[in-house]
Symmetry: C2
C-alpha cells in the first residue's frame, strides 16, 4: 500500500501539521509513504522520509527538496527537462486548519482527479466553521452545546450566564479562544476573537464537563475507535496541543456503561454518514445532565487520532480502498447541437 | 480593465456555461476579456475571442487552442519551451453547477493566489446545496419555502399536501426535479431524484406563485439590480433555461410597492453580507400570503443576470476592484524552535 501524506499549508496550524506528519512515519510503518509538504507560500515539495524532522522545516532546509506540481491524476516531480509522475498512491490530507480543513485541498484533489483521504469540500466547510457544524448537527437531530452566534457588526447585548467560552467560528487550536468569567471581560474577549474572524460563537463554559472523544470512519463496515475521556484542562493552549499532536501510543477506553457508549457511537454515525465518507474524523462530545451534546467535529484530527485505534494502519489501509468516487459527467453537446440544427447551422 | 471569464467545467450545466460566456462578450464590450475554457476533462484552454461560438466547443475545435496551467498568481500559457504568464486580470467564475458553484474553482483561485469574482468556498457550499441554503437562511432569520429533507436511506413516509416539488439538493437547471401531483407518483419521482443525489428536498408546489428575482453585490456600496417578476412556467425545462442564459437586454422592473421592494432588498442584503462578498449573486424569492420566502440562491446566475442591471459593466468593474483578500498567515516556526530549545537542540 502506498500513501502520500500531505501536510503543512498556509495555516495557523502549519507547525502542528508537521508534527502530525512526523507521527505518521511512526504509526504507519510498513506502508510505503511519500511526504508532500505545502510551505507557507503554498509551494509543494517532496520530502525524503529521512528528512521528516521538525528542524528540516523550521530551518527552511526543505527548499532543497524536489518541487512538485499538480497534474491531472497526481503530483509530478519538476525537473530541468520536464516533469515525471510521482507514484505516491492515495493522498492522506493531514493539513490542519486553513487549506486542509476549509475545503481547498479536497477541491484540488477532486479537480485533478487524485484519490484522497479527507473530508470532501462540503464536509470540510461544515466542520471547519463551528457555526455551520451546529446547524448541520441540529438538522440531523444531534444535540449540540447551546450557543449564541455573533457577527462583527452585531450589537453586543448578550443575555447569558457566566462563565462563557468565546470561539472564532473558523479557527482550530484555541486561537482567539477565551474563557470569560464575568461580563466586564466580555468586550475584550470579543475584540480578540474578532481579530481572527468575522463571526464568533459564545457557549456556556462548564468547568470539568464530562467529555468523550470518538474517532472513526466507514470502510466496508464502520470502524469506530475506542472512546477516550481526554485529560481535563481549562483548554489546551497551543504548546500542549502541539505535544498532543505527536501522540502515538494507544490510550485506554473511558470507563462508561454500554448505554452511553452506544449513544455516543450512534451520534457519531449520524454525523459521519454520508457527508464524511472518505475521511477519518474525531468527534468530541460533552455529557451534561445525561444528555450527549456534540462539542465539535475534528475533520483532520491531530495525528489522525491514531492513538484511539487498535489497528490504525489497517483502518487507514481499508479506508484508502473504499473512497467515494465523483460521479462522471459526460458532455455530449446535445443542446448546442439541437439549437444549431434549429438555426439551420448543424 | 482586464477580466478572464472562466467557463465550461465538469458539470451538467457545461453547455449553458458556454452560452453564458458568449453572452459576456456582448454585455462586457469595452472590457479586455480573456476566455478560459475548462473542458469536460478539466483541462484549461485559452479561447480566442473570435472563436467564442457554441460550435467551436461542440465540434471539439477548442482543442486547437492554447492550453493553460495554473501557477502561483495566475494562469500560464503552455508552450514547447516552457510557459508564459497570461496577463488576464481578475478571473470571473462563470461555471454553472459542479466545479463552479461547489467551491472547486474558488478553492483553486485562493490556493493559487489569483483574484477572482465568485462566491468563496464556504458561500459556494452553502448555496450549491439547497438544504444547506435553507439552514443558512433560517439561521439569519430569513424565511424559506417550507421543506422536508429526505436522504436516500430514509424511510419514505411523508405527510404532505400535494402537489409537491422534488429537488435533488445539489443540482441546478431542473435536473432530477419533478412536480408530483398525487401520492402514487411520489416514489417514482424520488427514484429519479435519488439517481442524481443522495439527498432531496420536498417542497409544496404553488401554482402561479408570486416570484421575484433580485441580483446584486457589494462593492464600496450596495449595488442591487432591479427586481424582476420572471415569466411563469411550471418550471423551466433545460432548453428554455438554456435560452434564458443568453439573455442580454434589460428587462423592466416588477410592479410592486416600495414596502415589498424594501423587504426583498433587506432579505437579499442579509443573505449576501458578509458570506457572499466578492461575488455577484441572484436570489429568487416567493411571496406567499404576504410573507417573503427565499426560494433559492443562484451563486453564479445565468449570464451573470446582466439583464437586471442598469450598468452591468460598471458593476462588474467596481466588484473586480473590491474583492475580499485572504488573511496572510506568516509562519515563523516559533513553536518548533521553542521545542528544539527545550530539547537542547536549538
Amino acid at each position: 500500500m502506498k500513501l502520500s501524506v500531505i501536510f503543512g499549508g498556509s495555516s495557523y496550524e502549519h507547525e502542528i501539521s508537521i508534527v502530525s506528519a512526523i507521527t505518521m512515519k511512526k504509526v504507519l510503518s510498513g506502508v510505503e509513504l511519500s511526504f508532500i509538504f505545502v510551505d507557507s507560500d503554498r509551494s509543494f515539495y517532496l520530502i525524503d522520509s529521512d528528512n521528516m524532522k521538525s528542524k528540516y522545516f523550521s530551518s527552511a532546509d526543505y527548499k532543497k527538496s524536489k518541487s512538485l506540481s499538480l497534474k491531472k491524476g497526481g503530483f509530478a516531480i519538476d525537473g530541468r527537462f520536464g516533469s515525471k509522475a510521482l507514484d505516491g498512491g492515495v493522498v492522506l490530507n493531514l493539513i490542519h486548519g486553513r487549506d486542509g480543513e476549509d475545503g481547498k485541498i479536497s477541491s484540488l484533489m477532486e479537480f485533478y482527479d487524485i484519490e484522497f483521504i479527507s473530508p470532501r469540500t462540503e464536509a470540510s466547510v461544515l466542520s471547519y466553521n463551528k457555526l455551520y457544524t451546529k446547524l448541520y448537527a441540529e438538522s440531523l437531530g444531534v444535540s449540540v452545546v447551546p450557543y449564541i452566534h455573533l457577527s462583527k457588526l452585531d450589537e453586543r447585548s448578550i443575555d447569558i450566564d457566566y462563565p462563557v467560552i468565546i470561539k472564532p467560528v473558523r479557527l482550530g487550536s484555541s486561537i482567539g479562544v477565551s474563557i470569560v468569567k464575568e461580563s466586564d471581560d466580555l468586550d475584550y474577549a470579543l475584540d480578540v476573537a474578532f481579530e481572527y474572524d468575522s463571526d464568533v460563537i459564545i457557549e456556556p463554559f462548564i468547568e470539568g464537563v464530562e467529555e468523550y472523544n470518538l474517532a472513526g470512519c466507514k470502510t466496508g463496515d464502520w470502524e469506530l475507535s475506542i472512546i477516550e475521556e481526554p485529560q481535563k484542562e481549562e483548554f489546551l493552549d497551543f504548546e500542549k496541543k502541539y505535544m498532543d499532536f505527536s501522540r502515538d501510543s494507544q490510550v485506554s477506553s473511558a470507563q462508561i456503561d454500554d448505554k452511553l457508549k452506544d449513544a455516543i457511537e450512534k451520534s457519531f454515525r449520524e454525523i459521519y454518514d454520508p457527508l464524511f465518507l472518505g475521511s477519518l474524523i474525531r468527534c468530541d462530545f460533552f455529557v451534561v445532565d445525561g444528555e450527549i451534546l456534540l462539542n465539535e467535529i475534528n475533520p483532520i484530527p491531530g495525528s489522525m487520532a491514531n492513538y484511539l485505534f487498535d489497528d490504525f494502519r489497517g483502518t487507514v489501509e481499508r479506508l484508502a480502498t473504499s473512497l467515494p468516487k465523483e460521479r462522471k459527467i459526460s458532455i455530449d453537446y446535445q443542446y448546442i447541437h439541437s439549437i444549431q440544427r434549429a438555426k439551420g447551422k448543424a
